[in-house]
């Protein structure tokens, strides 16, 4: 191979992506050709310069921003597929009690959903999980729902006002079976500012 042919394969050679016979040819050429050696060194040097560039690191609120973004999109999808919140609210509220307790105990969403509240819609709530805790310590949750007949994402409507929120009393949590717990914590529930849900594809 002449120099120009060598230069065509030099890049792949440096990357270890040439076959053994090409490797042997290039190696032999490099031994006797200072110009191609210099070219190889330049390529390697530029690669090293790229690798040595000072890296960026994620800002501390990167995760928060991602979840906020997800929440906004889910909410905006919701506005196009609005359900009457009351149709969803009651079973959802019953489930919320479970979520709150579940989150305190860090139970898996599947476990929580598995112990479903047994209400008409509740069987359609297949999983739920806390999303994030924002800077003020307010908890937000997604409620992943599967509601037959809706192929697009649906949202369990944001509760318009805390006062309308079903408060967690012991009886209610008792009804929801598995969630009965002495850890029902009204304080936490009172801080839930909104709840969103969307349909997740069932695999």
């Amino acid at each position: 191979m002449n120099c120009s042919k060598i230069k065509d394969v030099l890049s792949a050679f440096i990357d270890g992506e040439t076959d053994s016979s090409t490797n042997a040819t290039v190696q032999a050429h490099l031994l006797r050709c200072p110009e191609c050696r210099a070219e190889r060194d330049r390529i390697e040097k530029i690669g090293a310069r790229l690798r040595n560039l000072p890296p960026l690191t994620a800002p501390s609120d990167f995760e928060y921003r991602i979840y906020a973004d997800i929440r906004n999109r889910v909410s905006s999808v919701h506005s196009r597929n609005r359900l009457n919140w009351r149709t969803v609210f009651v079973p959802a509220a019953a489930m919320m009690v479970g979520i709150i307790i579940g989150s305190i105990q860090l139970r898996s969403p599947a476990e929580i959903a598995g112990g479903g509240a047994g209400q008409s819609m509740a069987r359609n709530l297949i999983s739920m999980s806390p999303v994030t805790t924002d800077s003020e310590g307010l908890r937000e949750y997604t409620i992943d729902t599967y509601i037959p007949g809706y192929s697009t994402p649906v949202t369990v409507d944001a509760i318009p006002d805390e006062n309308e929120m079903v408060q967690p009393d012991r009886n209610r949590s008792g009804q929801s079976g598995n969630y009965a717990s002495s850890q029902v914590n009204r304080y936490v529930l009172d801080q839930v500012p909104m709840r969103v849900g969307y349909e997740r594809t069932i695999y």
């Binding site: 065509d8 030099l10 890049s11 390529i43 690798r51 960026l56 995760e63 997800i70 969403p109 599947a110």
Partner: protein, 198 residues
């Protein structure tokens, strides 16, 4: 033991939110840097990287269990970065030409920076960094993407071919051409590197 990406994705598909967070933690810096090297602009890179993970979250159902997560992730990232570059091109008349029809030699390079005289080593290094960053933005994105994936991310040709959805032979030729273009761009941005660097 380290949980594999695939296992975390599968767990996330089943509703385990912490699995997503672990993937995020594992890849956030790499994706931010990948996008940053593609775009050369920190703020936009953060926004695009954010978008990448939002897409992963919302499209988790499209991930095929048992397949490799990282190439899928980088593919989303490179698509978004390329879209961003195209979007900018529509907004500004900048010549980071990446259309297949154009001649590679048509780029309008900026005037070379004044090279430092009598600068100390640290300053020279800083300048070299700035120069290569600048040079990267001068070459077409179709060459930039494989260069970043190869030189910074360390992917092999088959992986790059998967990520960018181009044949392996094209990866090879774009890396070859991309390196030549980057070298030319670098020496134009900072001629001092031509002799000093080697």
């Amino acid at each position: 033991m380290i949980t594999s990406d695939d296992e975390l994705m599968c767990r996330f598909q089943k509703g385990d939110e912490t699995a997503f967070r672990r993937l995020l933690e594992r890849y956030q810096d790499r994706i931010i840097n990948f996008v940053f090297r593609m775009l050369g602009d920190e703020d936009t890179a953060m926004d695009i990287a954010q978008e990448v993970f939002v897409k992963i979250y919302l499209n988790a159902g499209r991930y095929l269990p048992g397949s490799r997560f990282a190439p899928w992730l980088y593919r989303i990232a490179s698509n978004l970065a390329i879209n961003e570059i195209r979007r900018r091109k529509r907004w500004r008349f900048i010549s980071i030409d990446e259309s297949a029809s154009s001649d590679d030699r048509n780029y309008s390079f900026e005037l070379a920076d004044e090279s430092a005289t009598g600068a100390d080593e640290v300053l020279l290094q800083k300048e070299a960094s700035d120069s290569i960053e600048k040079a990267m933005t001068k070459i077409p994105v179709k060459y930039r993407a494989p260069l970043v994936l190869r030189e910074i991310e360390g992917y092999d040709y088959d992986e790059i071919s998967q990520i960018l959805n181009i044949p392996r032979g094209t990866v090879k030729s774009r890396l070859n051409r991309g390196r030549a273009l980057l070298k030319t761009a670098l020496y134009r941005v900072n001629p001092a590197l031509k002799t000093a660097a080697l």
